[in-house]
């Protein structure tokens, strides 16, 4: 009745899952004091990302839960597929800059689409570096959104 003594790591769980999904991938991992990152690489991995990253989010939820219940791991587990999150971050920065420009030209506050706390932080960080505008968050989750106004 003993369970097998195989070390369960974020990487090993991701490898098991993508193999079971019959996807040809390469999985790499790196970690620091706060986070463990697992990156999945390959072709045609759109299915693993899903609409607006929903499948990737599900994968991350499952892997985090599995790893955390099987050990003492307290660090955040971050999974990415073909740098999807990195690319999304860049898009968000570009969008924030365009909206800042619009606020400057129209001299009117601009309310952005609702975002998650992490996404809002990326926008606030971007706006901090743009002269002449400021940003704040308004409303309640999940409708909470960033408003960019001329300073």
């Amino acid at each position: 009745m003993e369970t097998e003594e195989r070390a369960i790591t974020p990487k090993s769980v991701v490898v098991d899952i993508v193999n079971l999904m019959n996807m040809r991938t390469r999985v790499t991992s790196w970690e620091d004091e706060e986070e463990i990152h697992v990156d999945v690489w390959g072709d045609d991995l759109g299915i693993l990302i899903g609409r607006a990253g929903s499948t990737l989010q599900a994968l991350q939820d499952l892997v985090s839960t599995i790893v955390k219940r099987n050990g003492q791991e307290g660090r955040r587990i971050v999974i990415d597929v073909e740098r999807y999150k990195e690319r999304r971050r860049q898009k968000l920065r570009d969008y924030a800059e365009r909206m800042a420009e619009k606020a400057l030209i129209t001299r009117k506050p601009i309310s952005l689409e609702p975002m998650t706390p992490r996404e809002r932080k990326i926008v606030h960080d971007t706006i901090k570096d743009v002269a002449g505008v400021e940003s704040k968050s308004e409303g309640e989750d999940p409708e909470r959104r960033v408003v960019i106004s001329p300073a």
């Binding site: 079971l20 999904m21 299915i47 599900a58 499952l62 839960t65 219940r69």
Partner: protein, 89 residues
């Protein structure tokens, strides 16, 4: 879409995937049982776990059950199928 793969295309075993996830989440993996019913375009997967473990495969506000459904559905999509996951308690 063409798959330039020289291995023969293999079907994703959704039963095996769901079993793997459930066993990794529960305290009594030996009690995990998955059965599947194949329809024309859909597969219904029924997951049974030890009654003590039901909360673990559902998760807070159903988050884990939802995540398993999302992943299983993604695998089904790869095969051009639909999949429904039922947790039997």
């Amino acid at each position: 879409m063409e798959d330039n793969n020289n291995q023969p295309a293999q079907e994703v075993d959704m039963v095996e995937l769901l079993e793997y996830l459930a066993k990794a989440l529960v305290d009594s993996p030996e009690m995990v049982e998955v059965t599947s019913v194949e329809g024309e375009r859909s597969t219904i997967l029924q997951l049974r776990v030890d009654p003590e473990d039901v909360g673990k495969v559902i998760g807070k506000r159903g988050r884990i059950a939802q995540a398993m459904r999302t992943l299983i559905k993604a695998s089904a999509t790869k095969e051009g199928r639909n999949a429904i996951v039922e947790i039997i308690d």
